[in-house]
Amino acid sequence: MTSDASIWPGPLTALCKMVRCLTMKQPHPALTVIHAQRSTHGDFTPEPLPEVDLTTILEAACRAPSASNRQAWSVIVVEDHAVMKELLGYQAAAALVFCNDTTRLDDLAQALGTDYPLNPTSRLTTGIFDVGCAAQNAALAATALGWGTLFTNGLHRGDVRRAWRILGLPERHCLPVIALLLGRPAHEGRPKMRWSGPGLVHRSTYQRMKPEQIQEHIEALDRCDQGFCADNDDHAARGFAHRIEAYFAGAGRGGPAHDLHHPHPLDLVLVETGFTWKA
């Protein structure tokens, strides 16, 4: 009996696996890539990004949808490591700096003897959608090709105006929004968890979370074993009961509460570069 039984489990398991493979719906490769995308936090190897892959990534970015197909964005490809360090504080094989940019359309309108009088609010928000769709396409293409990626909005911290000096950006109607670093990750990693429960995905209308849902949400974000935390998360060591508590207490990237007398540097830059509007 024992010997007979020992013959079967292996082939049976293999057969079961094969049947399951044939009957289960396999996820589309694009979905697999979407779920595999993760942030490589600065630990890129020195391996360069081949021009053919860079071209493929840029082509995917350009294919992204944009309002009225006007592509109100531009991308600066940075491969100079010193420039990358000064601009973003990171080193990677390449950095793509995506800008909300209507200066191309301004120039084209002027060449046609007309103008492009955008509503300033729409210039900002719709331009950022165009940027976001293009940038995410670039990141998905890079992930599909096996490259590591990191999005950073570090351009908006510190001396925000350095991007104009370093990259020669037009003075008005061009705003660097987000940078995508590309390279070979030095270490394996896993994608961080995302919240998709109450408070984020709402059915039919917006529902404010009930106290018990808030508690559930806070506790879910503490589950480091499920990948909600960064690998170097130290909220417990720093005396915080919850990860999100540590985030709110300092790392909450929104910075200090709003004060019109001490505006965010980004706010001042929006004024200087023509993204102003009447409220």
Binding site: P27, H28, A30, L31, I34, S39, T56, L58, E59, P65, S68, N69, Q71, V75, I76, D101, L105, A109, A111, L112, T114, N119, T121, S122, T125, T126, F129, L140, A144, L145, T149, P170, C174, I178, P191, W195, S196, L200, V201, H202, R203, T205, Y206, I218, F228, I244, G252, R253, G255, P256, A257, H258, L260, H264, L266, D267, L270, F275, W277, A279
Partner: protein, 257 residues
């Protein structure tokens, strides 16, 4: 294209209102939502909300057309403010940061949704129509929190009654891609871009008839048409942003205060 993901990225195209009645299965909808929330975002704080609607009457009121599913993407710091308050803390978000970073995060999530939909054979449209007209209607229709939450775009999902004849053209090198530093455009560069955008497929679905209407260039028709109207059609957006907490110096300057 050998890589199926790259092929999917290149196959995404907009369906402009011609969605059939064929519903999107609930499995597919859940897969699209799961893909959408996977998108990278600042600090993994996910400062956005997605309102899922399958109510045709609501869609009609929101955007003037219908699809089996509408996803309204909102920048939303209210969720994290609620979490902070529950812990006896405050979540202070600078409004300029909230606007720029929040809109970026929603765009990345929305792009994931349309790519996932394409992978599943589902057609889509990303629309910024939620920013036009009486913007405050969303607070009424979708019960949005009065502050710290505002709608930025909608994604419509369904099956198109017809596929477009042309794949729309896109600018790349010499248009949107700059190597090393930004290259300013001279008259020659402008002429080259105008010629490129005059190509058959470029504006096909925006105005196929620009030549018949006597315009020298596709973009001339654009600037004199919807491009020109863009100055006025978003007039209600700034007051709505201000009401929802986007009260920043760049608003004040236009007032001269």
């Amino acid at each position: 294209m050998d890589n199926p993901t790259l092929a999917t990225l290149h196959a995404v195209h907009s369906t402009h209102g011609n969605f059939s009645d064929t519903p999107v299965s609930s499995d597919d909808l859940e897969a699209i939502l799961a893909a959408s929330v996977r998108a990278p975002n600042a600090g993994n704080a996910q400062n956005y909300a997605i309102i899922v609607s399958q109510d045709p009457a609501l869609m009609k009121e929101v955007c003037g057309f219908q699809a089996p599913v509408m996803l309204v993407y909102c920048v939303d710091t209210q969720r994290n403010k609620d979490l902070a308050q529950h812990l006896g803390l405050a979540y202070g978000c600078d409004p300029a940061w909230m606007l720029v970073t929040g809109v970026t995060d929603t765009a990345l999530a929305a792009q994931n949704a349309v790519v996932a939909a394409r992978g599943l054979g589902i057609d889509s449209l990303i629309s910024n129509g939620v920013q036009r007209g009486d913007v405050r209607r969303f607070w009424r229709l979708l019960d949005l929190p009065p502050a710290n939450c505002f709608p930025v775009l909608a994604v419509f999902l369904g099956y198109a009654t017809a596929t477009p004849e042309h794949r729309k053209g896109r600018l790349a090198d010499g248009g949107v891609i700059h190597r090393g530093r930004y290259q300013q455009r001279d008259a020659v560069a402008c002429e080259r871009i105008l010629a490129e955008t005059d190509a058959e497929a470029f504006g096909a679905s925006v105005f196929a008839d620009w030549r018949a209407k006597g315009h020298a260039h596709y973009l001339e028709a654009f600037f004199k048409g919807p491009g020109g109207r863009a100055a006025t059609m978003y007039g209600n957006l700034a007051p709505a942003l201000r009401a929802s907490g986007i009260d920043i110096r760049s608003c004040e300057v236009a007032h001269g205060t």
